[in-house]
Symmetry: C2
Subunit: 374 residues, 2 copies
């Protein structure tokens, strides 16, 4: 029971942080009782509880997270790995996950893979070392090699936004990419567009493949309609040049569908570079909707993803996996949840020139109701 007033280097008197033993001593109880008061695991006499809380307050005691999580069976962190923090879609996702975590009394540990499977694996491994309750991952390719590690280590995880390759028995929370893309394509076709260009980042991504499939199905159903696909990559510059190169070439598509927010921006940049005007020279729909798209001129038609719901459902699913007896009840039934998107109809889509000549109707397309059929 030796005293340890521990001086700091500069000699000033700086008491070390109070431990649970200090609190126990101040309240004249045992450390175990203090723990019981703070964690609430066992009942404690009200008078004693007050004394303990008083001592906690007086000393400014705050439990050491490392010590707590070392001994405790309770896991108090959840990891999240996303391709990039600066992409507003992922930023929003992380923000919502952080709120979910806080509401559950846990801390969210975020990691970025920067689109590199190797970094992703490193990040997943690093997070696994924290003994997290689970991981929420947006994989940067359809393989998600790091899943082996998680399975070996017994860490529950949920995949968000980007479905893995077919047949993987993995919990997946995503939007209904095919339906949302199909609805957008359907509207374009209905207006008379026959040359549609769909721009994806990479076909290695499940969400991109699904969106393309949705568009493809609609285009195939319309006689004389042609779908062209462009794989434009991830970096702004490469996207811009790739898109500009295509748009400068005849025959130019009458409608362009940018399959994520970075691509939408790339299309706008390319379009500006080569002097094309939306929607006069081509119509534009983007997957992902952001504030600035509403005030853009023309206002951009876009598919809005329900990111908060995505985060909520991912969290909920992970909670099920974590909960007591999780293995018995939900192990055999990996869920593949699909949330409906919402098509926001604005002014960046017009009737194509061919139709425009034939009919005398107004140039800009009339907005019909744009709710997404789930």
């Amino acid at each position: 029971m030796a005293e340890r007033p521990s001086l700091s280097r500069n000699g000033s008197k700086m008491l070390r942080r109070p431990t649970i033993r200090d609190v126990a001593q101040a309240a004249a109880v045992s450390p175990g009782t203090v723990s019981n008061v703070l964690t609430g695991r066992r009942n404690v006499d009200p008078a004693i509880r007050e004394r303990v809380l008083g001592a906690v307050e007086a000393l400014g005691y705050r439990p050491d997270v490392a010590a707590s999580s070392l001994r405790s069976t309770e896991r108090n962190v959840v990891g999240a790995v996303v391709p990039e923090l600066t992409n507003p879609f992922f930023a929003c996702l992380v923000d919502r996950l952080e709120r979910e975590a806080r509401a559950a009394g846990k801390r969210l540990l975020v990691g970025a893979s920067n689109g590199d499977p190797l970094e992703e694996e490193r990040e997943v491994a690093a997070l696994a070392a924290w003994r997290p309750a689970g991981l929420i991952v947006v994989p940067c390719d359809g393989r998600f090699g790091a899943r082996r590690l998680l399975e070996r280590e017994g860490v529950p995880f949920v995949v968000v936004d980007r479905p893995l390759e077919e047949g993987e028995p993995v919990d997946t929370i995503a939007v209904d990419n095919a339906a949302a893309a199909a609805e957008a394509a359907h509207r374009l076709l209905a207006l008379g567009h026959r040359r549609v260009l769909a721009i994806a980042s990479s076909l290695a991504l499940g969400n991109m493949r699904e969106r393309l499939a949705g568009v493809e199905a609609e285009v195939a159903a319309v006689d004389g309609a042609e779908l062209e696909t462009l794989e434009a990559g991830f970096e702004p510059e490469e996207i811009t040049t790739a898109v500009a190169a295509r748009l400068a070439r005849e025959p130019r598509p009458t409608a362009v569908f940018a399959l994520n927010n970075v691509l939408t921006l790339g299309v706008l940049r390319a379009s500006a570079d080569i002097g094309l005007v939306v929607p006069d020279d081509f119509s534009l729909i983007g997957f992902d909707d952001y504030d600035w798209m509403e005030v853009f001129r023309p206002p951009l038609t876009a598919v809005r993803q329900p990111v908060p719901e995505l985060a909520h459902m991912a969290w909920q699913r992970l909670a099920e996996r974590i909960g007591p007896a999780a293995e018995d009840t939900v192990a055999g039934t990996p869920c593949h949840l699909r949330l409906p998107c919402h098509l926001i109809w604005r002014g960046s889509v017009a009737v194509p020139p061919e139709v425009r000549i034939g009919s005398s109707s107004s140039k800009s397309a009339a907005a019909t109701t744009g709710s997404c059929s789930s």
Copy 2:
């Protein structure tokens, strides 16, 4: 030395995660030696080191972070608290800080205060419980009440982006708000603008006050020039209505300076709502520059902040505070670093109508070189 093969609930054979003792046993050395190999704190015989690393690999051993940071003197996390994760400015900051942390072998723990000083304090307290090496904070008001807690607890911290109230001996890394705002204002005045509206979120924020001061100084130096200030808040809706209300009233300013990215968006929304056109009805400059502003029509003139440098300097400063003998060498000299911004001149600023009538020069302002004088 009892065996513990620990079965999981569903009865499948699942060995517990290997510990350092397992590795030690497999390599026929003591746990201390394994630790020395992995942390590199002490020299280990090459042959033994190979044996240990082999055992680590074979068992898939990964040190438990909680146990490690409980015992170690080394602090392996750094906390970051920002007002909101979804604001691209903070998202970018967090992204860069995360990279800095990773490069330093630490993990960044991010927390959001959502603009609420109480939440901020809770978040800071929560992060302090992790025994972080330090904290990087963007406070949500000029008081930063949570600093008491940090000082009491002895946690080093650096304030970023928003300087505290005068006279606070606190490390602060920010941009040169006054100079950047002054340069922008100077350019507006030089074009002939005399009614300037500066829109801030809240005057409780140090960065806003500095930016206003920069504008004010320039306006005061020009005869007949008037500066009007609007405090528009933080939420998109309130900003939009406040700005719209002002812009609908005569006399309308000929130039608007939105003092952050959210405000810029608010101005654009308000402008669209009441049917005004930039730059015909008023010129617009925004603090903060983002990708979409370049492709906007008209392209938005903006002040670009050096966020990566901001993050780098903040990290570096924190490292100094953390490093050995930090108290002796740097304690008495809180630094107030100011990084230069860059004015990106685009098409959203025009010559005001008064001048336009008088002269026969082109309507849109000619772009002169726009580098920011530090």
